[in-house]
Structures are given as C-alpha cells and as structure tokens.
Symmetry: C2
Subunit: 329 residues, 2 copies
Amino acid sequence: MVELGTQNGLFTIIARELEQVEARLRAPATESRGLLAVVVGHGLASGGKRIRPALLLLAARACGATMNGRHVELAAATEMMHAATLIHDDIVDNAATRRGLPSAMARWGSHVSVLVGDFLFSRAIQTLVADSDFRIMGAFSQATVSMTAAEVLQLQLLHDLAIGESEYLEIVTGKTAALMSAACRAGALAAGASESRVEALAAFGLNLGIGFQLVDDALDYIAREERLGKPVGSDFREGKITYPVIHILRRASAGDRALLERLVEQPALTDDDLLPLRDLVERYEAVPATMRLVDDYLGRARVHLELLPDTPACQALHRLSEFVRERDW
Amino acid sequence: MVELGTQNGLFTIIARELEQVEARLRAPATESRGLLAVVVGHGLASGGKRIRPALLLLAARACGATMNGRHVELAAATEMMHAATLIHDDIVDNAATRRGLPSAMARWGSHVSVLVGDFLFSRAIQTLVADSDFRIMGAFSQATVSMTAAEVLQLQLLHDLAIGESEYLEIVTGKTAALMSAACRAGALAAGASESRVEALAAFGLNLGIGFQLVDDALDYIAREERLGKPVGSDFREGKITYPVIHILRRASAGDRALLERLVEQPALTDDDLLPLRDLVERYEAVPATMRLVDDYLGRARVHLELLPDTPACQALHRLSEFVRERDW
C-alpha cells in the first residue's frame, strides 16, 4: 500500500503529530489484556494511511492552531472510529483480508470482531467525551449515524441495477465522506475557527471524501491485484453497483443491459465470468467517466479552501486533494 | 416474558414517562427508510422489560426531579444502547431467538445486524450529545467500554473451567451491571443530585445489575423452556462457565470434576448429555448457592438506597431489587 505521508511529503508539516497519533493508538491495546489487547492491537496497527487524523490535524493547522496534545487526542479518536468501522465492514463484506493481511474477522471470527469494533468505537467516544466539546462530539456522532445508515442502504441495494446516481452518492457520502468531513470540522472547531471556516473545511472534507470513494470504486475496475490486494471487479462480485456500472447502464444497448442483468444474478462469479464486464467497462469508458466525476468533486473541495489563508497546511490539503486522484494507480 | 411493570405495579409512578419512552423509541425507525427502518423497528419493539429506562427515571425521581422530556430522552437513549448490545450479542452468541422471536441476526443475517446495532448505538450517542451533559456522556461511554471489554473476556474464557470467581464477576459487572449503574447515575445527574447521592445510586445500580445477571445465570439451570424461550443449560452448551458451575468446581470430587471436564470439551451437547450436569447442579446445590450470592449483592444494593429520602421512587427501587430475585421463577 502506498504510504501517503512518507512517499509524497504531503504530511511533512504534521509528521511529528502523526507520530504522536501512532503512539496514542497503541494505548488501547496496551491498556487491555488477553484477547482484547491482541485484536485491538491488530485493528489499530499502523499500515493504514491515517488520512482522517491527517485531515483533522491539517484542518486545525489551516485555521491557525498551534498543535498540542488535544489535536493528537482528537486525531487518534478519529482513527479509532475509522478502525472500528473497518472491523465491522469486514464482517458485513465477509472479507478475508484487509490491507493484504488476514482481517480480524478471518482471524478471530465475527464474534470477536463485533465486540472489538464496539470496544474501539466506545474508546473513541470516551476520548471525545474527555475532550469535552459538544460541537465536535456532535460532528462525529452525526457522521457515525450517516455511516451506518449508508451501509445499510448499500446492503439493501446489493445486486440492484435500478440503483440511481443519487442513491449511489448518498451511500458514498455516508460511508466515506461523512467521517472525513467530521474530521475536518473537528480540526477547525478545535482551532477555534470562525463559523465560515468551520463550514468551509467540513465542505472540503465532504467533497474530498466523495472523490476519494469514487476513486476507490474506479480502481476496483482497473487496479492490479498486487496493489489493492483484491481482484478486479470485486465490488460487482459482492453485488455492489458502483458508479462505473451506473454509467454503463445509462448508456447500455439492450443487449449489454441484458448481459449485466444476467451477470448480477449469477451467484459465484469467476474471473472469467467477469471478462464481459471488463469489456463493457472499456467500451463505455466507465473509468474515465468516473474520474470526470471525481474531478468534479475534488474541484468543489478545492473551492472551499479558497476561504482559508494560504498557509503550508492549506497547501497540503490542496495537494492531498490532488493526490487522492492519483493514489494506487 | 413477565412484564415487570404492568404485572407488579413496580413502575406505576413512572408509567406515563415509560409510555413516552416507548413513543420516543419508535422515532429511529420512523425517521429511517427501507431495510434500516424495518430492522431498527424490530430491535426497539416493545416486549422487553425496559428496566434500564425505568432505573434512570426512578433514580431521577428518587433524587427529587420533576419528570420532563429530558428524562424521557435520556431513558430512551439508555434503551437504544441496550438494544444495540442485544443485537450485537445475538451475533456473538449466534442466537436464533430473542424473547421468543427470531433474532435480527436470524432474520436478516449478521451483515445487517452489525450495522443496525452500530446505527442504534450511534443514535443513542447522538441523543446524549443533544442532551449536552458531559458527566452523563462519560457515564455511558465508560459503561460501553466496560461492556465490550467484558464480552471479549467472556469469549476468551469460553470452555475454560479454570475461570475464577473474580473473573466471572468482572464479566458479570461489565456485561450487565455497568449499563444499569450508568442508567442510575445518569438519572441522579439529570436530577442535579449531590455527589453522594449520585454515587449511591450508581452503586445501587451496579450491585443490582450483578444480582440481576447472577439470577439469569441461576435461571439457566432451572427455568422451564416455555418461560425463557431457551433450553436449560444453554450457557454451558455455549461454553459459558457461570457461577453455578464455578460453585460446583470448588467443591467437586475428582470424579465430578473429570465429568465436567469431559462435558465442557464435548462439541455438540444434547439435552441427554446435559443430564449429568443437571444432577451435579442438584447435588452440589449450585442454584441455592448462586441465590445466596444474589442476596448478598441485592443487600448491598439496598444499603445504598438508605442515603436517599424515603419517597415512592426510592421504595420502587427497593421493591425492584426484591423483584429481580424473583423474576421468571
């Protein structure tokens, strides 16, 4: 997996704080015992890109905050919340791997994973309670409500080719953008920023997050296995109808639509079964179409940055919005 | 299932507020759509005893509060949190039924259940955030950390006859007593009670909750199927070593211990396989021994009520502590 921070120097100005976040993320495991300590350690182990903590820290810096322990605590809480959702998502998706390693679900079963996800989420809430800012708590609790509602909607619309773009965007916004937006909002709030800057950063995070997820959904149709650790077309295999397929459906000939309808009904799709889908993706230029939508959202994200003074932190957020587009290619 | 409130008049003085709690608990479903609305409605449907909301309301009343919408909101949040843990517990225990009906897990699968539990928990947090009392938030977030840690410990110690009384009590305290204690503490805090009364009610709830769970664990060895909706010895069947068995192990002859060791290793225990266990429970008087411990904890709970003025609410809490002992027999 590409290490965003180290490889691209994007997070250089918050490198020290990100290290402190890493140290802070080791606490829930070391404070626990036995099985809980092991699984929590697995769930919080570094290896992720830590984008959400970075967003929070950069948003705070962009609003003029001098970094302190409070920002590190909030950034760590954000990542704990994210880790909790990943652990539960792996149950939902029945995922064997996560970042190329066995998922908690695969190693310890859904029984343990449900509880450890709950534990991490509770520890995140506890950290926010200790911070004692109701606007920040509100931002995160709103985000988690959106996330879970969106994930249920996604389940409900599995294998459903009638999914519209607006429903798809509702899912994307809830499952990915809401927490990124909350992280940016929390950073701005922790910096004591003005209302307009708080809203600008929240809107930046929301649009960035939508772009981020759209890139993910595009990557699913092109990424090489060794990069993402999962085969091409795995979203479709799981019944997830994402933007590339929605794009095809809007333009598809009767024959191509019938092909998609047959494929989506088929229970266990092999790589060979998916070859016609890959052909449709090529033919209807579904990936470039998705990337145009990505650019649209990332452009909107950047507009919101214009409200902020031109500081290194603001520039880093700007470059992050560019890098999101390029990741993993 | 015995309806505590209606059958025994225990909750008469808060009957109106409990009705408002019921109405409030219908909101998360009506505010949602599709699958989410259905499963949330299922999770929050009345049928439970609503003991936690009742504890919160009675604790507030016992501290002199005049009931208002705030208490109803907090009581509803407590029940949402409880409902979330039940939905997740059914995944952990792979439970087919809950209160005699198919569990969410059985009806919609663990995929949906994980998310709906998360949704309800997030809505509970959101309700607490709207209430804006950090001491109350802190009480509930501490409780959920304890609950999840205890549930993981319970999983870790499944089938482990070496479990000690202190570990068992740690599990019981975390998984059941912590939330009851938080409910009582929250009620007292919402009433603006003095520090000593807040602590007294929290301690009452904690001891009551331990007693409550111990009764549950005793019931598992005696309850008739039609009452609890699950067969006798189901805890042991699931590998849960509870107080009755711990009591036997402390006194068991070498032969009886060997019998237990054989049983606990056996993968799929039938009712007939469990007959020797039921014999041990009889012979070592494991149920009366458990009930002595119950009386010990309920007695401790009542001592804490002595710090409160003798009001109808305090009397109701007192009677609740007596009724807990008798429920479902």
